[in-house]
Amino acid sequence: MDHNKLLDATGLACPMPIVKTKKSIDELSSGQVLEVHATDKGAQNDLTAWAKKTGHEILDSKEENGVFKFWIRKG
């Protein structure tokens, strides 16, 4: 999937994936897409909850070899 920015948060523990995702999203403009890679087991639920509350949209997510991948469109 197309993305405007890629954030590699693999190997990082809570709360860093969400802190870094917020920072990266702040650097994008509305409508742009951020791709996030994370290995933290809580990342799926964390990012879903975070996006919902902060007004961003998770377009897609999948797991590949233990890496969770997310595509988030900035609201």
Binding site: L12, A13, C14, P15, M16, I18, V19, W50
Partner: protein
């Protein structure tokens, strides 16, 4: 940008001076900051020790205050665990495990919180009780009492006492 009622808020009272509880408090604070919340951590009693500078600061103290300063952990690197402290072996073990799992240490979490604009507030009344002075605490923090804390807490949906 910041108006009462539009920005979400989170407050945490950190009463405990335990390493594990302080880590939990700072992880929640950093998470809330990533949620764009205005975050306040109010440090009171033993919680104040996490804000102490690592190095002794030359300030005038009475005998009892000196004793307190000496008996309490000086800074976030010196805190003990609430369980399984084993005279300091516990914290060393936890720090080792945290490093292995790439988790941020407490000093790093405090730095991150400050970088994210988390408001760190030291309770002045308990500072007096424990004999701690402003020069002995980290730079960039605020000083206030219960009314200032409640002012923030009444605007917040998440208020924790740790």
């Amino acid at each position: 940008m910041t108006q009462v009622g539009t920005t979400e808020r989170t407050t945490i009272v950190l009463f405990s001076g335990d390493l594990d509880k302080s880590i939990a408090a700072f992880i929640i604070a950093n998470g809330a900051a990533a949620y764009d919340h205005e975050v306040t951590i109010f440090f009171t009693f033993w919680g104040l020790n996490a804000l102490r500078k690592d190095q002794p600061v030359p300030v005038k103290k009475g005998l009892l205050e000196k004793a307190f300063a000496w008996m309490m952990p000086r800074g976030s690197k010196k805190l003990g665990l609430s369980r399984m402290n084993f005279a300091g072996a516990g914290p060393a073990m936890i720090k080792h495990v945290m490093k292995k799992h790439n988790a941020l240490s407490l000093p790093q979490l405090i730095e991150l919180a400050q970088a994210q604009g988390v408001k760190l507030v030291a309770c002045t009344m308990t500072m007096d009780l424990l004999g701690l002075q402003q020069e002995e605490l980290l730079d960039g923090i605020e000083y206030a009492g219960v009314a200032a804390y409640l002012g923030d807490a009444t605007e917040a949906k998440v208020n924790l006492f740790i």
